[in-house]
């Protein structure tokens, strides 16, 4: 499940589901059940993820996509305001474009 056939491209709804899975792994299933996760969900305000959780979420993306996507590089280039306002949709779009 965690390895990706490099010839398969995920569409945005598949990427969204995958991101949701990663969020679940980072913050725990029982918390996710109580949340409504959408493309608009922001990491800081809506999902209440702190910086360590965001870092570990980005590590999951890195592990999954490998060299295909420089996700940590992209994330580490965000300044404070961008990071505060970062939402799931932005990430889904980025991954979709990179594939």
């Amino acid at each position: 499940m965690d390895t990706l056939d490099s010839t398969t491209k995920l569409n945005s709804s598949e990427i969204f589901d995958l991101m949701k899975q990663f969020i679940t792994e980072v913050i725990g299933e029982e918390f996710v059940e109580e949340m409504e996760i959408t493309m608009e969900s922001s990491f800081t305000k809506d999902l209440e993820m702190d910086s360590i959780e965001i870092v570990s979420f980005s590590e999951k993306i890195k592990t999954h996509f490998g060299e295909q996507i420089d996700f940590t590089g992209w994330l580490s280039n965000m300044d404070l305001d961008e990071l505060i306002n970062l939402n799931l949709g932005t990430i889904v779009n980025y991954i979709e474009e990179c594939q």
């Binding site: 913050i27 580490s76 990071l83 505060i84």
Partner: protein, 399 residues
């Protein structure tokens, strides 16, 4: 004999280590002063230490409001990454801007051989640079440096705030001078801090544990009343407001009432009308005397409490709220000395389970003991005093 001056922000966690290092320098026959905005520091200074209070002329309206900077950090509910913005824009930058002239004035009067400035009191570094004094930096919240690696752009943003302030005061470097290129003492061990490439002037001296001089009364009889009970300490430090405390301790009550635990809580007892009978609630506790009697600690991830807990080889549950605490919590988990919970998300049962786990599974305690060993090997207070004394002796080259 040399003259040392510490420049400290009005933040307990940043001040305490300087009191211990200063005490050692005084014992060795040096002269030591503390430049601060807070007159309440006077009774806490070690014997012989001089209070160098930043005060401005009464006529200077803008500068009369020193008091408002003393507890500014407690005035807003902050959480997560947002808090870094608040910390710089609303706390550190105004505080440093306000303090600059006062610091510069004291440097000229005290004429120190060495200035030791806190890494978040960068006005101290700017004033020292402008007046031609050698300075060292003490990093009392080391996780702030770790951000460089984990979220480099956030670090860059922080540094840009510092650089802009430097420019206001005529230092035109394009890099922050907050961390001294002569000596920057990081108050933790490398083992706890984690891997990171740093220039050689960063020295890991280990945490400087502060033996508070004031006697804090404590209900020792009650601590040992229930034989067989494990004993834990719950504290979320000094800077968080009422709402944070209320939500945190309400969950703690639900988690631990009727458990076979004796729970020491650092809080205003009036926060709740009633506390469970197995709780000991005091506004302040003699934390260092208490730790040897405890089995575990639950805290918010403030650097000092975490270091004191690890020094005593105790496992912990960290519930970070803001600033660098998320990173401190990350380190605790990474070295295996404890578990972390998300402050906004956790429920009573998670706290209960996490505490049960660190108490039952010996590997957490073992990891804490190992970090404790790395702390004593780093040298602590004496090592810090040695490094400062050495730097103060070096002749100052005019350039």
């Amino acid at each position: 004999m040399a003259r040392f001056v510490f420049v400290v922000p009005p933040l307990t966690g940043h001040i305490n280590p300087t009191l211990s290092i200063g005490a050692v320098l005084l014992q060795r026959g040096h002269q030591v002063g503390w430049i601060t905005l807070d007159p309440a520091l006077a009774p806490k200074l070690p014997k012989g230490g001089e209070l160098l209070l930043i005060q401005y002329e009464e006529t200077d309206l803008e500068k009369q409001d020193s008091e408002k900077y003393l507890d500014i950090i407690t005035k807003k509910i902050v959480y997560g990454i947002d808090s870094i913005k608040f910390l710089y824009e609303e706390v550190l930058i105004p505080l440093n801007r306000h303090s600059y002239e006062g610091i510069a004035g004291w440097l000229d009067r005290f004429k120190p051989d060495l200035v030791i400035t806190d890494h978040q009191m960068f006005a101290g570094a700017i004033a020292a640079a402008n007046r031609g004094y050698t300075y060292a930096t003490s990093v009392t919240a080391p996780a702030a440096i770790k951000v460089m690696d984990e979220l480099p752009k956030v670090h860059e943003w922080e540094m840009n705030q510092v650089i802009a302030l430097q420019k206001e005061f005529g230092v035109h470097n394009e890099t922050s001078i907050a961390c001294s290129g002569e000596l920057t003492m990081v108050l933790t061990s490398k083992a706890f801090f984690g891997e990171m490439e740093l220039p050689e002037y960063y020295r890991f001296v280990g945490p400087v544990i502060h033996q508070r001089t004031e006697q804090v009364p404590f209900n020792w009889a009650k601590l040992n009343e229930q034989e067989g009970n494990k004993k834990i300490l719950l504290s979320i430090g000094t800077t968080f407001d009422h709402e944070h405390k209320k939500s945190f301790f309400a969950k703690a009550i639900a988690a631990f009432e009727n458990e076979a635990l004796t729970v020491v809580v650092v809080s205003d007892p009036s926060l709740f009308e009633q506390w469970p009978s197995n709780f000991i609630v005091q506004r302040s506790v003699p934390q260092l005397e208490l730790l040897p009697h405890l089995d575990a600690v639950v805290c918010h991830g403030g650097h000092n409490t975490v270091c004191e807990t690890l020094t005593h080889g105790l496992p912990m549950v960290v519930v970070p709220i803001a600033y660098d605490q998320s990173h401190v919590a990350g380190r605790v988990v990474r070295v295996g000395a404890g578990l972390r919970l998300n402050f906004n998300r956790f429920k009573a049962k998670h706290l209960k389970e996490a505490v049960a786990e660190i108490l039952e599974n010996a590997c957490f305690k073992q990891a804490a003991v190992e970090i404790s060993r790395s702390f004593s090997e780093a040298g602590g207070t004496e090592k810090a005093a040695d490094l400062l004394a050495e730097l103060a002796k070096e002749p100052v080259i005019d350039c």
